[in-house]
């Protein structure tokens, strides 16, 4: 019957209808899409920055989260359809992204350049926070009678500390820790001696029970006693301890890194984004953040304003900074690809 075949043909054309798009009208209020890593970190940023900025500048701030999928950012910029205005990225992403022309230049007439620490400034990004990878441990297992390991030589000492341990499944940080454990002084770490680092890692490999990948994992692993010592990010450990979990950290041998704000090239709300960076880099905003999470701000005036009882838990506090190493992002940017190959090979051994 002819009618039936006609109907069938119509059904076949339905997939084509899926390709038509409806257009909507844009919002009248100024918008800003800000992207960060979620969890307790983004909660803290919301309280210190996003809500205050939205109110002060009358902007509709929309938040999104990401897990650092740098590829997504690159794809977005390359396709020209940029939906993010401000993104919180890891330090190596600033250098690599700038090389591949993924960002807008920061407007330093708005952002208070002179108030920021010199390490916190780049043509294409500005530091959001300083954070550290430190050694963390289960605070119930260790006590004054049973002292916890201090520094990476202790972590490597499986006789004195036979407890199960965890490290991040990533060469960044682990190579520095391996060299510190092997006795390299803090000020002579870079350029990293790869052969010596991997030889040092060989000694600890079979004793590492878990290689963690997600930021919250060390807190979870330590709380459930799956491991009793682990590397971890200081902010997460601090928040976990505040929530009552049996975790604590030690600053000795910590690796200070940074997160940066960038503006993807082609962002639709560039001007609002620059205003946001100016606000988030100001002393008044930055002195708020450490109240909610233990990360250090780059604004010198903000650092001076933070009360000592909060400051003592920040990686940038002078007494903590003295025990740590600051990561060399330029070295990692140049060498990461080759190191990653060698690291993967080493993991498979």
């Amino acid at each position: 019957m002819k009618n039936r075949s006609r109907v069938l043909v119509l059904f076949a054309l339905i997939p084509l209808l899926l390709f038509t798009r409806c257009s909507g009208s844009g919002p009248k209020q100024r918008e800003l899409v800000v992207v960060s890593y979620g969890g307790s970190y983004q909660d803290a940023q919301r309280k210190a920055y996003f809500e205050a900025f939205a109110k002060k500048y009358n902007v509709n701030v929309r938040e999104e989260t990401w897990g650092g999928d740098f590829g997504k950012l690159k794809a977005m910029v390359e396709s020209g359809n940029v939906t993010w205005d401000v993104v919180d990225v890891e330090a190596y992403m600033v250098l690599r992204g700038a090389q591949q022309n993924l960002y807008e230049k920061i407007d330093y007439t708005k952002v208070p350049k002179d108030e920021l620490l010199p390490e916190a400034i780049n043509d294409y990004g500005v530091v959001a926070v300083f954070w550290s990878t430190v050694q963390a441990f289960n605070s119930q297992h260790f006590s004054p009678d049973k002292p916890h390991p201090v520094g990476w030589a202790d972590f490597w000492n499986t006789q004195k500390f036979p407890e199960p341990r965890a490290l991040r499944k990533d060469p960044v940080g682990n190579l520095e820790f391996a060299l510190l454990a092997d006795g390299v002084p803090k000020d002579r770490l870079y350029p990293l001696d790869l052969d010596r680092a991997f030889a040092s890692l060989d000694k600890i490999k079979s004793h590492v029970k878990v290689w963690w990948t997600a930021g919250e994992q060390p807190v979870q692993l330590l709380s459930t006693s799956e491991v009793l010592i682990s590397s971890g990010w200081n902010g997460r450990i601090y928040s976990g301890a505040k929530e009552g979990k049996p975790v604590a950290l030690d600053w000795e041998g910590g690796l200070v890194s940074s997160d940066w704000w960038v503006i993807p090239r082609g962002s639709k709300n560039k001007d609002v984004a620059q205003d946001f960076l100016a606000f988030a880099s100001s002393a008044e905003a930055q002195s708020e953040l450490p109240k909610y999470i233990a990360y250090g701000p780059p604004n010198k005036n903000a650092i001076a304003r933070i009360p000592p009882e909060i400051a003592k838990d920040l990686p940038t506090a002078p007494q903590n900074l003295a025990k740590q190493v600051i990561i060399n992002n330029e070295w990692w940017e140049k060498n990461q690809a080759a190191v990653l190959d060698r690291w993967n090979k080493w993991l498979l051994k």
Binding site: L8, V9, F11, P15, D69, R96, T213, D341
Partner: protein, 291 residues
């Protein structure tokens, strides 16, 4: 009874068929074939017009090692899903009514939650202080907790669980259409239960088995979250390496080359599976012939 007259000529029948196929064909070309061709192009154009990406894969042993591990895991998972899935599909086929519905529902249950949530749930179950270890310790089956996660068994358990429905459903579909009287008549001719099963139901279920194995094997080649979270340092799959190249190193030319290698090996296996299925169907009588 009035005989049905031919409704249309053969020519317009072909046209209707084509009109029905063309939109979906266009869709497949647009979202699959075209991007795959772009991937091929990227692998030889980025960073410059050379084959250096492929040379690096062959030159650096770690990549071939990882590809080997990926295929090893995929093979073991496929075998495990057959061993666990076949009895289950057979059992579903033998039940009736509400029990059958319940069992089918249980098969589909893994699809109701996201992959990531299920993977984390497995960490909770399998870890040292997890439910399984606690249960085994309480029952005195073991005296110390065993390592069930962050190693190969953890990955196998997780992946087998996720992929079991993909084996059970095609198998059930084939078993469903096999006449139960065939097995019965085999035993009435004197064959024991096992021989009756092996000579009738098993060969007839071959298409379902091949289809299920193909789906499970090819899907496990692409698994990346489960081995990353449940596995140890030696459980590195090629998709994890590709992810690092795409997401951290932004080396898309090399990632494209790795993907192309994975696609080619996968295509090779797909061809082998299809040929194998064709050979099996030529040697044993098909369901159609038996009706």
């Amino acid at each position: 009874m009035k005989s049905a007259r031919p409704s249309r000529s053969l020519k317009s029948d072909g046209l209707t068929t084509w009109l029905l196929i063309v939109p979906s064909l266009l869709f497949v070309i647009l979202v699959f074939i075209l991007p795959t061709l772009i991937l091929f192009r990227r692998s030889v154009v980025d960073p410059s017009f050379t084959l250096e990406n492929y040379a690096r894969i062959l030159h650096e042993p770690v990549y071939l090692q990882v590809i080997w591990i990926t295929f090893k895991i995929a093979t073991i998972v496929t075998v495990l899903t057959i061993v666990l899935g076949y009895p289950f599909a057979y059992a579903i086929n033998r039940t009736r009514g509400s029990l059958k519905l319940i069992l089918l529902g249980l098969t589909l249950l893994p699809f109701w939650t996201s992959l990531l949530v299920r993977t984390f749930a497995f960490i909770l179950l399998l870890q040292q202080q997890g439910l399984i270890n606690k249960m085994l310790l309480t029952l005195h089956i073991i005296s110390a907790p065993i390592a069930l996660v962050y190693n190969l068994p953890g990955v196998l358990v997780g992946m087998t669980y996720m992929l079991l429905p993909y084996m059970v459903l095609p198998l059930y579909g084939t078993l469903h259409r096999i006449d139960p009287k065939l097995e019965w008549s085999a035993s009435s001719l004197g064959a024991g239960r096992l021989r009756a099963f092996c000579s009738t139901t098993l060969p007839l279920s071959a298409p379902g088995l091949v289809a299920g194995s193909a789906i499970v094997f090819l899907l496990s080649l692409g698994f990346f979250v489960t081995p990353a979270l449940l596995g140890g340092p030696r459980e590195q799959t090629i998709s994890m390496i590709i992810e690092a190249q795409v997401n951290q190193l932004l080396n898309w030319g090399f990632a494209a080359a790795l993907s192309v290698v994975l696609i080619l090996i996968t295509a090779l296996f797909a061809v082998l599976i299809v040929c194998g299925g064709w050979i099996i169907s030529r040697r044993k009588p098909s369901l159609a012939e038996l009706r």
